[in-house]
């Protein structure tokens, strides 16, 4: 009975009768597309509600413990040193977009000025959206508050005036219309995380939903 008992632990997916691959990713994309994702040239928009439009003179950005936050006006924020970054992004709805070009302020810069007073961050946004992240995923050159995309001011439907950019996690963590990073001792779930999406969201481990 050779073969029995040698089966893999993972359950193999059944072959879908009559299904044939139609997409051939260029060799250059090898190793850049996480499992279950496909590359798109578009920039899809996904949001739970209407796009907020916050005037720049009413916009501010805050970082720190609740009640002890450092706050910048739009003008002050734009005076902070910025970086140009080109990164791949991965949305939990299965699309990935390669080589997206952004300009923004490194979260390292913000935390250097505001203090790294807590291990977890809850991003708060116009419209009421929130998402949670470990501070160590926001530091070390891994995360930005971006206000330009492809050389232009970030469009409201893509999160303008400014959005979080955390490309190594699923893109719902890159919160649109972000206005503050509130530092916490606990990793409290944000908006989608409360609806069953993964608390961390690593696309390379396909952490789409709670328990993945």
């Amino acid at each position: 009975m050779a073969g029995l008992g040698l089966g893999k632990m993972a359950v193999m997916s059944p072959v879908s009768r009559g299904f044939h691959r139609r997409r051939q990713d260029p060799a250059a994309n090898a190793g850049r597309v996480p499992p279950g994702q496909y590359v798109t040239e578009d920039f899809p928009v996904l949001s739970a509600g209407p796009t907020p439009h916050t005037a720049l003179d009413r916009w501010s950005f805050s970082v720190g413990r609740r009640g002890q936050q450092k706050t910048w006006s739009w003008a002050e924020f734009r005076d902070l040193p910025s970086q140009d970054v080109t990164v791949d992004i991965h949305c939990v709805t299965k699309w990935s977009k390669l080589d997206t070009a952004w300009q923004g302020v490194s979260v390292d810069t913000l935390l250097d000025l505001a203090g790294r007073d807590g291990p977890f961050a809850l991003a708060h946004c116009d419209g009421g959206y929130t998402t949670n992240l470990p501070v160590e995923d926001l530091t070390g050159g891994k995360a930005w508050v971006a206000y330009a995309y492809d050389g232009r001011p970030l469009e409201p439907e893509h999160g303008g005036p400014a959005r979080l950019l955390v490309p190594h996690l699923y893109f719902w963590k890159s919160a649109k219309w972000v206005r503050s990073l509130e530092l916490h001792d606990t990793n409290d779930p944000g908006f989608w995380e409360n609806y069953g999406y993964h608390i961390y969201g690593d696309p390379w481990r396909e952490q789409r939903y709670a328990g993945d």
Partner: protein
Amino acid sequence: MAGTAVRRRLTWQVAKVTAVTVETASVRTITLDVPGWPGHQAGQHVDIRLTDEDGYVAERSYSIASAPGEPVALTVERLDDGEVSPYLTDELRAGDDLELRGPIGGYFVWEPDDGGPLLLLAGGSGVVPLRSILRHRERTGSTVPVRLLYSSRTLNDVIYRNELDIPTAGVEVIQTLTRHQPPGWAGYARRVDAALLAEVAWPAAAMPLTYVCGPTSFVEAVSQDLVQSGYRPERVKTERFGGTGGT
């Protein structure tokens, strides 16, 4: 905007296709037998996974078209440059297996206790999760008043056409055909914009609960118009289908 925590693990399972129904030239409804289905809410979706003989895998999300308590049904529009939707609309047939997991999503959902009045705004195949809401309302005996404004290109593109033509107490179905209208068409013949919404939407003072689903351009424009006419953003829920490249 706190949600109801769902901590059940979503595992892949194999469903059996029990029927494939033609809705329009490019749209099919796939009815499934999902062993042990835990039930779903109106407005939720599932992930489906296709695997070819070389082990290549493609995953996509599709809204559930059926009401809670009915067999799971997905309504899929074929996108000609897509990889998954042409398989689902053209190849899949009754008796086939289909791998899926779900239900997913807990925000774009409606339960009778959420009340209304309900404003449902659909662009094209964005009508799918709204149809689940309509059926759920009907099956639960809810009397919440509903207006559905549904925009299609032509009459032949209208999904669930016969079902929507059946008069239902408390439900007003308003249709607009943006590209071509048949002779004697009594509905609207223009894109959904602020002026059209002013004619057909509930007044903002009625505090409606609104669900908008369709292509990104439709959802962006319509939800913006509603907010500018006094709708409270937190009572406007959106789901955008647009530009996902290959669904």
